[in-house]
Subunit: 419 residues, 2 copies
């Protein structure tokens, strides 16, 4: 599938046009389209892996790090996994058409608020080919067209994936223009996407904090911010040792590189002597470097002295910051100052402190007595995750397909006029 559109803007307009027919598709047609896309990706494995090989070769030449090369790499099993992920999204319930509110006015006019597709979803992300397939599948399943702008390091891979997906749509008689990539227009294309207000309905950046900051600052298209996580766990005076230890270790080590991993532990002074030594020991036994304040240094061995920078660092590694605080107020102040409003948890058996924490912490997900690693669309039962929103408008926390829909009021009357 080659496209004749020669500018990024033209491709966005093609997506806008395609969004009209895609938005009207019924549940079964969208499901079948996604299954066809999964088949096309699986069938196109050889071409996709070849294209990826070209990107990898280019990456090696330009000195791309091993870690980034691994993120970029698609081999046969990874392509199969992409296809399987699309099949999972195909089986999710259709978020379009849900009735969200119903009212009948005194004059007999009926009002129905229904979920409708946004229209065109844009995404700007880094060189992870899985995002290309993921966002396209989620957008289509919710009746949206999509404009993709991935990292230039993955441009050939993305082109092969998009070509397979567009081919599957065309084969089923659906408009292939519903999936657009603008990788070939470089930064100018990204800039045009960020300013395509009226053509692109919502923009979802995915990637580093810096990429998200750029999109949030520059875009005039409405953005859903999927943000970084400087995540806190507070150990209250009443925290049971076993919960405190198991939850902190799980939240740090179960997958350290993701946004819902804990970065800072705040221990109330009254519990410090009881909790700090065993929690630090358990972390160290799992290979974690603990960066502690003076109180922590005084209570446990092998702790690195924390600097102010530690409190505002998203390690994404086997490092954790730990501070002893005088009381819950100081803990809440610390969180207010350093949190990225993603997820915070308190370990406590004091119901008053639990209630205060849940009410006062201003984050997308606020927890008591459980691991911050549960902040996840899959864990929440959404079946898929578009991202985790750290903003307050439209969506907050893990986003599923429902968050890729807007609403529309339908009003039906029989000649009523306003008095």
């Amino acid at each position: 599938m080659t496209t004749i559109a020669t500018t990024a803007r033209e491709r966005m307009l093609l997506a806008k046009d395609a969004s009209r027919s895609i938005g009207l598709l019924d549940d079964a047609t969208k499901r079948e389209a996604l299954l066809a896309i999964a088949d096309a990706i699986a069938a196109g494995q050889a071409e996709i892996v070849d294209a990826n090989g070209e990107d990898l070769a280019r990456g090696r030449e330009s000195g791309l790090s091993e870690a980034l090369q691994d993120r970029l790499r698609l081999d046969a099993p990874r392509v199969a996994a992409l296809a399987a992920a699309v099949r999972d999204i195909a089986e999710l319930p259709d978020p379009v058409g849900r009735v969200l509110d119903e009212r009948t006015l005194a004059n007999g006019v009926t009002l129905t608020k229904v979920a409708v597709p946004f229209g065109v979803v844009g995404s700007i992300y880094e060189a992870r080919p899985n995002v290309t397939v993921d966002i396209a599948a989620l957008a289509l399943r919710s009746g949206n067209a999509v404009v993709l702008r991935g990292g230039s390091a993955a441009a050939r891979t993305n082109a092969a994936l998009v070509s397979a997906m567009r081919g599957a749509l065309a084969d089923r008689g659906l408009d292939p223009e519903a999936i657009q990539t603008i990788d070939d227009f470089g930064r100018d294309g990204a800039r045009e996407l960020m300013h395509a207000r009226g053509v692109v309905d919502v923009l979802v950046p995915r990637g580093s904090a810096q990429l998200i900051e750029t999109v949030v600052t520059e875009s005039s298209v409405p953005v859903i911010e999927t943000g970084a996580g400087i995540v806190h766990i507070v150990l209250d005076e009443s925290a049971p040792l076993e919960w405190a230890r198991d939850i902190v270790v799980n939240a740090k080590t179960q997958r350290p590189s993701v946004c819902n991993a804990v970065e800072t532990v705040l221990v109330l002074r009254g519990a410090a002597q009881r909790l700090v030594p065993p929690v630090v020991a358990a972390l160290q036994a799992s290979g974690v470097t603990v960066h502690g304040d003076d109180s922590v240094l005084g209570l446990a061995d092998g702790v690195t002295a924390a600097t102010d920078e530690d409190w505002s660092t998203e390690y994404l590694s086997l490092d954790i910051a730990m501070r002893v605080v005088d009381d819950l107020d100081v803990a809440l102040d610390h969180i207010r100052r350093y949190s990225t409003h993603h997820t915070e948890s308190i370990i406590t058996q004091d119901s008053a402190n639990e209630a205060r924490f849940l009410a006062e912490v201003d984050s997308a997900v606020v927890m008591a007595n459980t691991s911050t690693r549960f902040t996840d669309g899959g864990e929440f039962g959404f079946g898929a995750e578009v991202g985790i929103s750290t903003q307050k408008l439209h969506a907050r926390g893990p986003m599923g397909l429902a968050e890729l829909t807007s609403t529309k009021w339908l009003a039906r009357g029989a000649g009523q006029v306003r008095a």
Copy 2:
């Protein structure tokens, strides 16, 4: 109440700080605070009218039009009306704390999605003192602090109103810093407000299309766009004459200056001979100037020839554009091209055409057989209206208090960790 904050930024930070205590107030306390504010506005009538007199004198000197002077003017009955509007808002149900979703994970962790205040609501608007009171009352009722930036022409009036409202909060032991005005910092203050991401949670511009466009383009704070209305009514071949005539006349003349008034009527060719003459005559009898295309000119007397500009004009006056179109497809194309996605209505007795129109028109409110003037928070039963959103993110159509809230997931466990 004078404030010691000397920069716009400092005032926004004071609002952010105050939002913490305001956000935790219970329903009764917020209701009583609003009643106290209403009393303070009523009691401050003389000072408010005096301050308004200074603004009016300044306006007259600088050549402010009669219409704008009228919009700016506050006399005793208008101040009383402001206080009454605040009392109405006081009696609305609290939108905070509503449970929007509940889930229990297989491991026993319970999830509750609750409505929470945004935090700080900002508003940029023109010289209408009623907006100052309206937005402040709506923000407080939904547990938010507010930063107000009204037109400089109303600066003294706004200062008097804000002073009365802040005094009422302080008298009740609530933090007066929850209401801030930054009128005295001019355009620099507005610019700072638009870039106060992380301090101000949402910005609601109210006023002209140009003001809204500026805010949408420049702001890095998330914006809820309350937009202009180029509103269409389609007269289908099956439209009953009486409904067509009464609804078009009502939608144009009941209040021509507002965004939900109709601006363009599209008549299907098969009904043109039957409908155009009596609808045009009824409009003319109500003082409306009809700007018609060639077909309309051929069917009715006293019609002005429409130019292309008419289709993209929000008259906000006793003018209406009318075009005869070949079929529903052409009508839908016309709407796609010129609509501002606010409200459109079809008059029809053909259920297939009604269903197509409701499904395919991409506007906040899509109607069949009723007047576009019903697109209104009050008419929808919301009790108050923050504005009418023409964007697709977060809120679409008339916004009530619920649209001034965000959400938060509360997770409660008993030591669960992720496997």
